[in-house]
């Protein structure tokens, strides 16, 4: 097994060459969680004593979500210098020889992240963080997809947005399922039976916009992270995902453990310039559960087959998997009553 020391030596050699400066390492720590890439927090200084804080994201052979790192890189690049706070990108490198796998390097932003399962994570700043959280999501949706970076995303599929996404995740479920889930099957059936309308305007969809995937420092959001599932699609997709009760399981009235749902929706409409169709949003909220289930099932498959025994791959089908099934069931029961 490769140690952090092996990797840190390789890194410092690469970074000194890349910047044409001699750097020494102050710290090199792996960050727990987020199984799509191995993430490292790095602190270096050069000969003059000038320090730099960096984040290294290295592709994993076996990961929770199989995604291309170029997707993440393009998305981060598209929002540089905008109202959507993202880290400055330094390098993207597909050469496996340098650090053992393709990687991306970016500047480390100030701030901390929190678990989406901790109700009091943002206390006492829920209100101010909530205003920013939902407005920033609207800003993401507002951005023109003809941007130089965003227009490099795949956008040739002629199927409606909902079908592209639903087919994609249902295929993941078909490939990775290790058990038959009647609740999930009923949810999928419901989605195919009553699709939403195509959006008036397609947007870049973050793909995993939720509490836990942003950095904050006291009452300010300092970074929106984890763009590896970004794609062109219906802006309501992100809204449905971020609103999902799974991210506020112990307080359903306060999505993302920040502010109330109605206020969140008004903020989003105001910053995106878009109007929400409630039936369509309801569809995307149910879709969020199916997509979530696909991710948790995929993680469970990685664990069961021994490809990746990171405990997050066991936790995912056990806890979030259970919760998403329960939300689907609540929805089906609600529709019948």
């Amino acid at each position: 097994m490769e140690s952090n020391n092996d990797l840190s030596s390789k890194f410092i050699s690469y970074y000194s060459k890349f910047t044409n400066k001699e750097f020494s390492l102050m710290s090199f720590e792996r960050v727990f969680g987020g199984a799509s890439r191995e993430t490292f927090r790095i602190h270096v200084k050069d000969k003059t004593g000038s320090e730099e804080k960096l984040i290294l994201r290295r592709t994993q052979e076996s990961s929770l979500i199989e995604t291309s790192q170029i997707t993440e890189y393009l998305a981060y690049s598209a929002y540089q210098g905008t109202s959507v706070p993202v880290p400055a990108m330094i390098d993207i490198n597909e050469d496996e020889e340098i650090l053992g796998a393709p990687f991306m390097l970016m500047q480390k932003l100030d701030g901390m992240s929190a678990s989406p399962f901790t109700p009091s994570a943002y206390s006492p700043h829920e209100e101010k963080l909530g205003l920013q959280f939902w407005s920033i999501l609207g800003d993401i949706a507002r951005k023109d997809i003809n941007d130089d970076f965003i227009n490099q995303f795949e956008n040739k599929n002629e199927d409606p947005c909902w079908k592209v996404e639903l087919d994609k995740w249902v295929n993941v479920i078909k490939e990775d399922s290790i058990s038959i889930e009647p609740i999930l099957e009923a949810g999928i059936r419901k989605l195919y039976e009553s699709p939403p309308k195509e959006p008036h305007k397609k947007s870049l969809v973050h793909g995993d916009y939720r509490n836990g995937n942003f950095l904050f420092k006291e009452n300010k959001i300092t970074g929106i992270l984890d763009w590896e599932m970004a794609h062109i699609g219906d802006p309501l997709e992100d809204l449905g995902w971020a609103l999902s009760p799974i991210w506020s399981w112990q307080d359903h009235e306060t999505p993302a453990y920040l502010i109330g749902r109605q206020e969140a929706l008004s903020l989003w409409e105001s910053s995106s310039g878009l109007t929400i169709d409630n039936n369509d949003l309801k569809w995307w909220e149910l879709f969020a559960c199916v997509k979530g289930m696909a991710i948790w099932i995929s993680a469970g498959n990685e664990f069961k087959t021994g490809k990746n025994v990171d405990p997050i791959n066991l936790f995912s089908p056990w806890i979030p998997g259970d919760i998403h099934l329960e939300i689907i069931l609540n929805t089906l029961e609600g529709d019948l009553s």
């Binding site: 720590e29 727990f32 009647p182 059936r189 405990p311």
Partner: protein, 149 residues
């Protein structure tokens, strides 16, 4: 009498979380070990119920399928007629049978949904709710947070 397996697992989890984890300086390795501690704790809490839950779930599916028989297609009825209620099965065989029953249930639910029979629809969702309550571990989320802190 020997100490039960779930008690052994529970103690192992407590030792991991309170005794070994604090000794680890590396933040990543400590978080990873804490996660294992929490997952072992869940296993311990659910260990004793896993067999009986599966027996109960299989029984409930069979009862509902037979009770709702009049709605189903001839093809599905043939599958239902082949189901045998057996007792004292090993866990692995019970599990295989459960997957078979779940596959039939998915087809049955689809057929129920294509009718206007609201009571049958409600009955099916009630069964799904029962099945979910046997298996779910998400109710232990609060416990996990306590263990983590």
């Amino acid at each position: 009498m020997k100490p039960e397996i779930n008690i052994a697992l529970m103690n192992a989890a407590q030792e991991i979380l309170s005794r070994f984890s604090p000794l680890i300086e590396d933040e990543y390795e400590q978080s990873r070990l804490n996660s294992w501690g929490a997952l072992i704790l869940i296993s311990a809490m659910k260990f004793n119920e896993s067999y009986s839950s599966l027996v109960e779930e299989n029984k409930e599916i069979i009862i509902w399928l037979i009770k709702t028989k009049q709605i189903f297609s001839t093809e599905l009825l043939k599958e239902i007629d082949q189901i045998k209620a057996e007792e004292g099965l090993e866990q692995s065989i019970l599990d295989e049978k459960n997957q078979l029953l779940r596959a039939i249930l998915v087809k049955a639910h689809k057929e129920v949904d294509s009718t206007d029979d609201v009571e049958a629809k409600r009955g099916c969702l009630k069964l799904l709710r029962e099945m979910h309550s046997h298996r779910k571990v998400s109710d232990l989320l609060g416990l996990l947070q306590q263990a983590d802190s």
